[in-house]
């Protein structure tokens, strides 16, 4: 049952990820990305990571992608606009890069050993629950968590600076 669910969801995720690249119309690409996000979120649920699944939908599908769609609609980019002139050299560079990426993926898959799963406790305090993630974030991983928020703050300040410049 769980395996069948995994296969179905994985196929949806990969297919819609491919569709992001294949579509000419940016709006369809954005919609395919939402499909990928939804499938990933469902995969998280099969792994009992309910909190991550919900946050994935709320933050990515519900907020970030809405803004993407907003911008695409605002620019109303037609699907068949003249193609940007491509840099031919980069195309041949893509093959070794893809090879390196695949090799890396193989290495990771080969070298990672199956870990013993922590005991799955159902209920409010099990692995993947809001309680365990919150406790982890604010005790053991407090410093990385705060550093990440500084990173995001930098991005916000940068965006503000860029937006302000046009008004001067």
């Amino acid at each position: 049952m769980e395996k069948a669910l995994f296969i179905v969801l994985a196929v949806i995720a990969v297919a819609s990820a491919l569709n992001i690249l294949l579509q000419r119309n940016p709006l369809y690409s954005a919609l395919s990305f939402i499909g990928t996000l939804a499938a990933l979120s469902a995969l998280y649920i099969t792994l009992r990571a309910h909190f991550i699944a919900a946050i994935q939908i709320i933050v990515y599908a519900g907020a970030i992608m809405v803004l993407f769609v907003f911008v695409i609609m605002l620019l109303n980019a037609p699907g068949d606009q003249p193609r940007v002139d491509k840099q031919k050299g980069l195309r041949y560079l893509a093959i070794p890069f893809a090879g390196a990426l695949i090799a890396e993926a193989f290495y990771v898959i080969r070298s990672v050993k199956p870990i013993s799963m922590p005991a799955l406790i159902d209920g409010d305090r099990g692995v993947g629950s809001t309680w365990s993630i919150g406790t982890g974030l604010f005790t053991q991983y407090l410093l990385p968590f705060e550093v990440t928020s500084v990173l995001i703050l930098m991005a916000i300040v940068g965006a503000m600076v860029l937006a302000k410049r046009e008004n001067d």
Binding site: L27, L31, I34, H50, F51, A53, A54, I55, I57, I58, A61, G62, A63, V66, L67, V69, F70, M73, L74, N76, G123, D124, S129, T130
Partner: protein, 340 residues
């Protein structure tokens, strides 16, 4: 396992049937409230007191011609109403409608499921509902629709933040994201007569929640996505027949959901006097509370004018959001001092 599945199927069918009926009658109620406020009679021709009006409206929707504009993006145009209705209906499985009742010697919980991220599930699905509106606006290939869709996406993203922040205070009090747990944490009384509802400790949180939920359901004074005075009908200008009806259904399902979540979070859900002895009373309390909340929504709709667009953004980002953050800080600090 099969028994559990059967129970779910029955509960979901009953809820969807009752809810869609309720949606039909909320539209009638809305027209009645509007006419009372405007000193008119309202619909009273179809059936006694206009009670068959929703059926007449439904039939009319079915028999109207289904038009797809020539220049529209056909596929998205057809899918958009479903995208806005389906998430709205999916929310209903986590709302606790009442306590546990006994039917034919079998204890039945009056909620479909209680997942431990219930509230996040609701927030996630309501944030997906905006795609229906946005895609409808874009695919109609009509400038009014497009402007409606754009407004809607900006408005939803802006007020979602305030909405999410406003409920954190209530969540801190309850200590769980599960709606059933939230209701149970509000049972009982202070000093024997004041019910332990979150509203008494979180009045600011409730006000922010209420205002943002008005914005999330696109109701006056936040109905800029459909603003009939300037955009004809906004995102659903081009829609007709059942597709148009689906947008309407989604809108009213969202209204009922918003009222139900508000009641669950701040007004003790199905709690009330005598619930322990007569579990059936819990549904009645819940329905009364939801009906009163919906009435207030309508009252606001027919009393207030619409925001201007810049006012909407300034109000959301510079007033509601900081206020919600302040509410979280104050609540958390007070709880640190007094709770432990």
């Amino acid at each position: 396992m099969t028994e559990l599945l059967l129970e779910w199927v029955i509960k979901i069918s009953v809820i969807i049937f009752l809810l869609l009926t309720a949606v039909a009658y909320v539209t009638l109620f809305e027209r009645k409230v509007m006419s009372w406020i405007q000193l008119r009679v309202g619909p009273n021709r179809v059936g006694p007191w206009g009670l068959l009006q929703p059926a007449a409206d439904g039939l009319k929707f079915i028999f109207k011609e289904d038009i797809v504009p020539l220049q529209a993006n056909k596929w998205l145009y057809i899918v958009a109403p479903a995208i806005s209705l389906i998430p709205a209906l999916m929310v209903l499985i986590v709302i606790p409608y009442g306590s546990t009742i006994t039917v034919a010697g079998r204890a039945i919980d009056l909620f479909v499921t209680n997942i431990n991220i219930g509230l996040l599930y609701i927030l996630g699905l309501t944030s997906l509902g905006v795609y229906g509106i946005v895609l409808a606006g874009w695919s109609s290939n009509n400038k009014y629709s497009l402007i409606g869709g754009l407004r809607s996406s900006a408005q939803m993203v802006s007020y979602e933040l305030a909405l999410g922040m406003s409920i954190i205070g209530a969540l801190l009090m309850s200590g769980t994201l599960d709606l059933v747990g939230i209701v149970q944490s509000q049972s009982g009384y202070w000093w024997g007569f004041i019910p332990r509802w979150n509203i008494f400790l979180q009045p600011l949180g409730f006000i922010i929640f209420f205002i943002s939920s008005l914005a999330e359901t696109n109701r006056v004074p936040f109905d800029l996505p459909e603003a009939e005075g300037e955009l004809v009908a906004g995102y659903h200008t081009e829609y007709s027949s059942m597709k148009f009806a689906m947008f309407y259904m989604a809108e009213y399902v969202n209204l009922i959901t918003a009222a139900a979540v508000g009641v669950t979070l701040f007004f003790g859900g199905w709690n009330g006097p005598g619930v322990e002895r007569f579990p059936w009373l819990s549904i009645i309390y819940f329905l009364i509370k939801v009906a009163i909340t919906i009435f207030v929504y309508m009252w606001i709709r027919f009393s207030l004018p619409r925001f201007r667009y810049d006012q909407l953004m300034v109000f959301g980002w510079k007033f509601l959001l900081p206020l919600a953050l302040l509410n979280i800080i104050v609540t958390a600090t007070l709880m640190m001092i007094f709770w432990t």
